[in-house]
Each structure stands twice: as C-alpha cells, then as structure tokens.
Amino acid sequence: MSLNRREFLKASLSVSSGSLLSFSVITSASEEPGSEADAELSPYPFLSIDDKGRVTYFTTRSDLGQGSITGICLIIADELGVEPDDITVDFKSPQERHWVGTGGSSGTYSVYRYHRPRIAAVRQLLINAAAKLWQVSSSQCEVSNGYVCKNGTEEKVSYGQLVALAKMLELPDEKAVEVFEPDKFRWIGKSRRLNHIASIVTGEAKYGIDIELPEMLFASIERCPYPRGSIRSFDLKAAKASPGVVEVTELKGSGWEGQAQYRPTGIAVIAKSAWQAQQAREKLSVEWKCPQSDLINDASIDRYYSQKLKQAGVVVHQKGDYIRELSLAEHKLDAVYKTPYWNHAPLEPMNATAVVNDSRCEVWSGCHLQTILQTELMELLGFESEQVIIHTPLIGGSFGRRLYRDYAIEAVLLAQKIKKPIQVLFNRLDESKHGQYMPAAHIQMTSGIRKNEKNTPFANSLHVRAVQASNESQRTPETLKDGKDPYLQFDPLRIPYEFENLHYEQCYTHEMPVPTGYWRGTYGNNYCFAFESWIDELAIHLKQDRLDYRLSLLENDKELYPKVSDDAEQLDKKLAKRVIKRAAELADWRGNKSAGQGRGIAWCWSFFYSYAAAVADVSVSSKKEITVNKITIVIDCGIAVNPNMIKAQLEGGVIWALSAMQTQVHFEAGKVVNNSFADYPVLNYSQCPPIEVDIISSQRPASGVGEIGNMPIFAAVCNAIYDAIGVRVRELPLKDFRIKAT
C-alpha cells in the first residue's frame, strides 16, 4: 500500500453518489483477478471453490442486522449455479485487492449489480474447463447444482473435479460474460431466513463483546466531554486502588481540527474484568477544561442555527429567476423545519478487542469500514497491511455508528501500551455522551404564490436554505469544493418537484463543536421531512388534494437535474408516482376518517436508487396523545433479492423514525446531557403501530433497502397530524405530542 492515508481516503471515499460512500465504485476499482491457493480456485478474493466443490464466500460486507450476507448468498447461488446451503460464509482481513466495508445501504445491491458479472465469469471458467475436458464447445455445456452438464447427454462433472483444470485456463473477461436473466433465478426473489438465526435464539451467536483472549484485560475510559477541551487536573489514586485494577493511564485523543475521525482524550482504567474497570472508573476524579466559546446548550445551538439561516449560503442548484418570480407573487409562504442531533444508540455498546506487538496488530470489533480501519492502524503503527489483521464478529446494531473507528483505535493504543490483549467497552453513558451524532438541521422553505389567468393560485418557485454540516466538512473544511460540501450538496437534488424557479442554498455549521456522522439515511431524513412537509403545506394553501398536488408536480418526465455521477442511476418519475399511488391505495387515502383522525403521505428517492412512499394514519386526542393507527410503506427496490428481509428492514426503518420523533440529544454547558434510554427514550414495544409493507415487483437491478424505511416517515406522520387536528409540526422531536401505546 503506497498511498498515504489522505490520498487513500480520497481514492476510496467516492463522493459521486453524495450521501454515503460509494462502495460499488470502490469494489470495482480494487478487486481484480489475482492468485489463489493450490487446492482451490479463487480468481477473486471474495470467492473460492475447492477441489471438493466447496464454495466459500469471503464477505466483503458485514451483517449489522440487515441480513445482507444471507441475501448475497442467494445471489452467488443463482449466478454460480449452486445451492445456498452449499456456500460457506467466511471472513478474511482486508487486503489490497479485497476491500471490506459496508455502508450506504449497498451491501446486497452492490453485489447484485457489480459482483455478479465476476461470479458469472467464474461460472464460465468452469464451463470452459468442462468443455475442454469433453472436447466440445462451451455453448454445449450448462451448469446445474454444482455440476457442469453436457447438453443432450447424461454426462456431468462436478465443480470440484474441474478446479485443477480451470486453474490452468484464463479467466473470461467479466464484461464479455452474460449474467443470468431474472427468469433463470431459482433463489433470488424467494424469502430465506437469516443464515445465523439459530445461533441468535439459542444465545450462541458471538458478538464483539463476547470475544475472549488469554490474559485479556478490560478498559473503561472516562473521556473529555468537550470536543475542544482538555484535562485540567486529575487524581487517579482511588481508582488505582480499586479491586482488579491493573493500570490507569491517560489516552491522548485525536484533537478536533482537521480530524475526519474524531476521538476524545480520556483516562483509561484497565482491570481484570469489565465490571471492575467500570467500578474503578467511578472513583476517578478528573476535571476537564472547555473553551468558553464551546459551552453550548440547546438554546444556543438553536440561536446559532437561526442566525446562520439569515445569511446567504452557497448555491448548490438554481433554475429560472427565483427573485423575479417572488417579486411577481401576491404573497410569499415560508417555514423553517428543524431537526435535532440524534444518536445511533445501538444495543451493543461500542467495543473492540486488540492485541499489538512489535510486528503485528489484531483487532476484533464491529467496525464495518474494515479497510479504512486497517489503513488508519497501518499509519498509526507504521505497519504494512499484512501486519494489521481485522476480524469482524457479529455486530449488535450500527445504524451508522460503527462506520467510525474511535473505540477500535483506543483498544489498539492501549494494547500497544500495556502489551496485553485489551477490550475497550463503552458503558451506556459513554454511548450516549460520546456518539458521532446525526447532524442537526434547520431548513427554510419559501415559495411565492401567484394567480393564473383563471384566477387560480399556484406556486411556481421554491427557495431552500439549509443549515447543516457533514461529518467531513465539519472538521476538515478543506474538503469543500468551490465552497460546496460534496457530501451534502446532492441531497436536495434527489427531490424532483417541478417548479420553474428553484434556488437551493446550503449554510455549513463547521463551528459547532459536536461530533457528527452518518446515521441511517442521514441527510435524506431532514430533506425528506422539509420537502414533503412543505409540499403538503403548499397543497393545503392552494386548496388541492395533497396526493394529487404531489403527483401533478411529478408529471413532467424531463430531468430536473444533471446526473450526479456517470454511473449513477437517474430518478424515474414514473416509478416514483407508482410507489406513491400504491401507498395511497393500500392506505385507503380517500377513505372515511373519524374525528381526530388524519392521514399523511410522503415519499423519497434515495442515493441507493430505491423509491419508497409511506402513508401514516394517526388519531390525535385532545391531550395531544398520538395513536399511530397504521403505517403503510411501499418500496420499489428493483429485483427484491430476499423479500422477507426487505420487509424487516422497512419495519425497522419505520420504527427508527418513530423513535427519533420522540427523542433527541440535549446539550448543557458544552456537554451532552443524555445518559441512557431513560432520557433518550426510543420507541418501545407498546408504541409500535401496525406496519404494512408492500414491495413492488420489478425487473430493475436490485437497489438499496436498509436506510429508506425511515426517510418518509417524519413528514408522513407530521402531515397526518395536520390532517387530524390542523396543527403543523415543523420541529422534531415532537414537543407537545406523545406517541401512545397502540
């Protein structure tokens, strides 16, 4: 690996698809045919077939609960011509040609779209080997259940028997090989249970927290609560004297400025058990310093964002003449939509186990950007890639949090210092106070209302000013290109409403000392909330049906925006309209409603090429208690690889959004206030509404699923509240309303 870290990150983190890492680009660039071991055929690092015919998939993707590895096995089974049960799933540490990482809802669809031709090339290689064996043309052979069969005869030869011969032949060019058409799929499209479901229900499943190594020690770390803060004073005596304690040591953080991966300074208490370390840590006495300017609280954050909204931002898109159009308007409508900082709060707290010596480093963690973690550790330790071994046990939830590497780097630094295996384990307070939070946003929407020749009012302009910061530009403003944030600028462009005059601006909140990061759907959540609420407001103002008005703004089939990158799939408004209409139909959009009952609709198109529309049906009591009667959600994700798991992801997304609607991260005197689920209340069982999921079947290549279920829910629910009682909610979480048990 000759690139330095900055160059590597630049090369790896494609910004072309906007919101999240473009894994498809990375994998197609980095995985080329390579060498293999003697007894096996492994022209690509992610796949091997041994001389017994055993197929192994070395996962490049991680299962964080989305079931993607199970889905990927269906894709491999179909394209290779084997049974899913014949595929063993294994994990190997990243290598130069074996990029390992998961994000951007790309796990399954990237394999469907970009790896399938490679699997097909391996299939063709086996066919070519059999053809050579039989001295016939390859076109006379086809595959079936791990065998190549000679057409029109009973003759067949197993993949295992072909391995030795296939290794001597040239791998066909993946571009010259045809993948199977969907009508040939045996496994894709049929629901299959999670591969490892039995190990979960019996308690045998091993997560990062369950890793055990000989002589392992445990660290609990008291971290600086202020990102730009430092240690004022400390007294470690009592902690050092606490039972089981082996060492108490300062752990320097990354610093704040210029650090894409922020990691606070802390005092690590290392003991023989996790519980002893936690107990001893409570006896620490540490005082932290915070710059006066960073003593933020909820009100000061709101003021800062409000002031930013008054400043002109950088223009990320414009069309027509918004200023002139507004001057012609009879009146102007505007509103500001606010979303808070949210935490990921997965159930498995951040943890990592590391062993480091002079020539080797091994890490076990739930981090699912394994290649990036490896690269950072190579730089940190001065090691080559083969000296840094990354292991990935099962992952107890991420939702974006485990894209970050803070806990793993802490474990490595401590293991290096103590020269023993170390497990760093966050407690729930750490989890609450040291997150990489979903960035807060204020989004102002403005439209001018005019009357046409028939005296009918209409809106022909939209001005959007959004105040927000991406994780990248927040601490490394040099990533801005022409002043624009490449990680944020495309998000509003995925919302294709037809106004003649558009003006989209962004104001970046670099100064805010709050660590931020990707969060299930990230900016798609804020933008969908603001746009879909605003379209509702306009429809109501114009006295039009909210569904019909939406559809009328999507009539025109011409592209509103240029492609964000060459390989990006463009929005198809016909597909958008189809999910919207289907959701309305399933939710009985025009059906009778009782007093206090309302329906709201919203939809989105995501950076991973899926479409979703949701209808919320709610009842609101006079005490402002919300009963969510039902959420209906419809997705078009192209070929539905594993339908029941797609359904699970959408149910999860709906619940994710409803959780967020009742909670937020609070700040006081520069620190996060929240401690646990007691003051960061997520949705519980009793609050969960009935959720109907519908998957529109399609022959379009598979697209992403994991982050779309949540995006339209915020606006759908707020639009339903308005429909029910005429109160417009423009700020999340819901302040006066409470989601009741169903």
Binding site: V201, T202, L347, I655, F677, S686
Partner: protein
C-alpha cells in the same frame, strides 16, 4: 494497583439446572458473573442501568434485569439463561422466534426471548394489554417489535398444541 481479593464471598445457586458454587465479589451483578465466571455469554450487556432489558433472564421463574442484580441476591436461587431454555433450540418460544423470523442484529433477542418466555409461563394466552406492558421493558433498536408480536402469538399456539405449560 488494586487488591486482588476484595471481600469475596461464597455464593451457591443453580444455573440452567446445574448447581454452581462460586467465590465472587458479592456486589458484582449477576450478568457479569455469568459472562465472566461461567462463560455464559448469551445474556447481553446493553446499559447496566436496567433501562434496555438486553440482560433479561429468569430468577426463580421471574424475568429480571441481571445487569443490576447483585450476585449476592441470588443465593440459593434458580437461574435460567437463554442457553438453558432448551438443549437444541426447540423451546416453543425459540421455535416461534425462528418461524416469525424475528431477529435482525439479534443482540437484544435473548432478552426478548427470556421476557416473552417468563410471560408465557404464567399466562400462556396473554391479552394485548398484558403483552404491551410486559414486552415494553425490553428495547430493540432494529425494530423487530411487529415480529415479536407475531412470535408471541405463534409461541402461544405451540404451547396450546403441546398441551402443557412451559
């Protein structure tokens, strides 16, 4: 550094049907005793504050949060963890969980299963309000609640078919 043997105490209890006798710190939570001393890692640490329910297990048949339960309170008691529900994953609740395809990340599921089992042991056909009240004590961030609901219904059916209580 810290002392080795700080007020260790002998505790006897039964775990998954087997008698266990341990010298442990009496204030150490049962969760950590199971994980550290008995290598029973199916019971999960989620919050350590009794706010999430990931550590739920049975103490004399009752669902309890083992992360805040000092091991000293378990003297002479019977403890069942997810590993002790069945030999082979064939407990009706486990079977229902597989049938309804409940787990996503799976981390909270041993807590969910133990909570649901405790409920069904005393009330094999619980009404909606009872299930709501009971299951709301165990959180899931992946959003598996609709399938937990389905699985509890299935488990209830399986128990009825079997004709015995749990």
């Amino acid at each position: 550094m810290g002392s080795e043997q700080n007020n260790f105490q002998k505790i006897d209890f039964t775990v998954n049907g087997k008698p266990v006798s341990l010298m442990v710190e009496p204030n150490k939570p049962l969760l950590w005793v199971l994980r550290d001393e008995l290598n029973l890692k199916g019971t999960k640490y989620g919050c350590g504050l009794s706010t999430c329910g990931a550590c739920t297990l049975h103490l004399d048949g009752q669902a309890v949060r083992s992360c805040v339960l000092p091991v000293s309170a378990c003297q002479g008691k019977e403890i069942t963890t997810v590993e002790g529900l069945s030999e082979d994953g064939e407990h009706p609740v486990q079977k229902a969980w597989v049938e309804a395809e409940v787990p996503q990340c799976g981390y909270c599921q041993s807590g969910q299963i133990m909570q649901a089992t405790a409920l069904l042991m005393t009330n094999p056909e619980p009404d909606n309000a009872t299930v709501n009240q009971y299951m709301s004590q165990v959180l899931c961030r992946c959003g598996t609640y609709p399938r937990i609901k389905k699985a509890i219904g299935l488990a209830s059916e399986l128990i009825k078919e079997k004709g015995t209580s749990l």
